[in-house]
């Protein structure tokens, strides 16, 4: 359990995805003290889970981990993982009180070497949430190899309390006497970097996600393609077959009034084109078809990336998917409207990937006093002025970094975090009060 000797900080950064990490580093580099609070067991957000990134195809882990280790080693940053922000109350100008709860990990993180002997000893197996349930994990576990901190945790809800982990641990860092701990901290400013949620495809039953075993989400495909993948290769979760005819369904849960989300998620066209290119590398004999309504390749190098995909032989079909049905052998029958030809068509694929959209994470709403935290009509954080001050929230002294305010890719997230941290620094430096 980290010892927060200093209970006051210049800035509280909520969310340890790439937006929170970047904001924390920027603020700390200006000599200010930062508390970075992450609800998960590891920082890194979605980016640390990705395979490669569009449009450069750089390895995502390789560009995330230097940032992660920079924030981790920074003398001005205190990181608390597995920690919730209960509420943040503005007391006065430049003065917030926050109540945070650090959940028991049942491991003394300062002594854990990440040797994984507890994991080997643990007899309990449950679906691994970091692999979207495609494979199991132990009740005593390290989330994944590049997790930060790379230390064990005990999933107490699934633990059989057999004591095997405690016996196996060479540094005796397993400690079942740990309890949740609450802290009250005082800060001069707050950066909200709680990111986005993925659209839940169960909300579109006609796509058969959850019932057809070989219909998966784009985030699951990221895991298939990442170095920390669940299987030894890209394989169908339904039967272990190597797929050779893969379909992408773009705009799943975006631009769709029937699920209450009319907006474009901005990232799914490009990440699908990226995954399709990676699949052509991993499965050279495979056919990949992308069903789209429009391709939104608006960023730097994006159009060229799209052209490159076409050149590689990826099949782009302007089509609206009506229904996906599972066949007896696990293949999928896809019924769609071919928009260019204006007719209904049926096709067969052996794996379907739903390119799920980016939805608002409404967590911040519960942190602040009612009616002070404002949201836009799609439940993302409301920006005070979209054009002139996009990183200012509805609360003075609370700044918005990354996808908290709307869907965006990593380069835009970095830019947004730069803006939010600069605004936070300016705000903190104006403070006359010593806290």
């Amino acid at each position: 359990m980290p010892n927060i000797e200093k209970k006051s900080f210049d800035a509280l950064v909520v969310g340890g995805g790439i937006a929170g990490v970047e904001s924390a580093i920027n603020i700390a580099n200006n000599g200010l003290k930062v508390l970075l609070v992450e609800k998960d067991l590891t920082i890194g957000g979605k980016m640390i889970m990705l395979s490669k990134v569009f449009p450069t195809l750089d390895c995502s882990a390789c560009i995330t981990t230097p940032k992660i280790s920079e924030v981790d080693r920074h003398p001005n940053v205190t990181i608390m993982t597995n920690t919730e922000v209960l509420h943040i109350d503005k007391q006065d100008k430049h003065y917030f009180k926050a109540q945070i709860k650090e959940k028991a990990r049942y491991v003394d993180v300062s002594n854990c070497t990440g040797c994984q002997l507890c994991e080997d000893a643990c007899p309990v197996v449950v679906p691994d949430q970091y692999q979207y349930g495609m494979v199991g994990r132990k009740a005593a576990y390290i989330p994944f190899n590049i997790a930060s901190p790379r230390v064990a945790s005990i999933d107490i809800e699934n633990c059989s309390l057999c004591g095997a982990c405690e016996k196996a641990c060479p540094t005796q860092c397993i400690d079942f006497t740990q309890e949740d701990k609450e802290y009250e901290i005082v800060v001069k400013s707050v950066v909200i970097a709680t990111g986005f949620n993925l659209f839940d495809p169960l909300k579109i039953p006609r796509y058969s996600y959850g019932s057809a075993k070989n219909v998966i989400t784009s985030m699951e495909m990221e895991r298939h393609l990442a170095p920390t993948r669940p299987y030894n290769h890209v394989l169908r979760p339904g039967d272990g077959k190597m797929p050779d005819n893969i379909a992408y369904v773009l705009c799943t849960g975006s631009r769709d009034m029937t699920v209450g989300n009319p907006i474009c998620s901005q990232i799914c066209c490009m990440y699908s084109i990226k995954q399709a290119q990676l699949l052509m590398g991993a499965l050279p004999m495979a056919d990949v078809t992308i069903y789209y309504i429009n391709i939104r390749s608006f960023g730097k190098g994006f159009e060229e990336f799209y052209e490159q995909a076409k050149g590689m032989g990826i099949n782009f079909v302007k089509g609206k998917i009506g229904q996906i049905d599972e066949l007896e052998n696990g293949d999928l029958k896809v019924r769609y409207e071919d928009i260019n030809q204006g007719k209904l068509v049926e096709s067969k694929h052996d794996l379907v990937v739903l390119s799920v959209g980016a939805m608002a994470n409404e967590d911040p709403k519960t942190m602040f006093k009612a009616d002070t935290w404002k949201q836009d009509e799609f439940a993302f954080a409301q920006q005070k002025d979209l054009f002139y001050t996009p990183s200012l929230s509805s609360i003075d002294g609370v700044f918005l970094a990354g996808t908290t305010s709307g869907p965006m890719d990593i380069p835009d997230t970095i830019l947004s975090s730069g803006a939010a941290s600069m605004e936070a620094i300016r705000y903190i430096k104006q403070a006359k009060v010593e806290i």
């Binding site: 197996v125 016996k167 005796q172 400690d175 075993k213 290769h233 979760p237 339904g238």
Partner: protein, 90 residues
Amino acid sequence: MEKKETFKIKRETHTVSQRVKDELKAFNQIRRKILEAIGEEELNIPDIADKIDMSKEETMYYVMSLVKFNKLQATAMDDMDEYYFYKIKE
């Protein structure tokens, strides 16, 4: 150094649910069945599923978990380049 055994202290305040006990038992049974089904052979997922009378999807989950936990390993692919074979890890 003497081991602490704090799990015994936790047992006084935390009851392990019946679900956890049942799932632990079920996993051990399935693991044994899969390892027995494979034995000295190299089998793919549909073969293993057939032998243990389990759905291919569930078999995939358990076999991949056993690969992750170093009990099984993938070997070659079949002639049709469709399925990997799995064997017990030496």
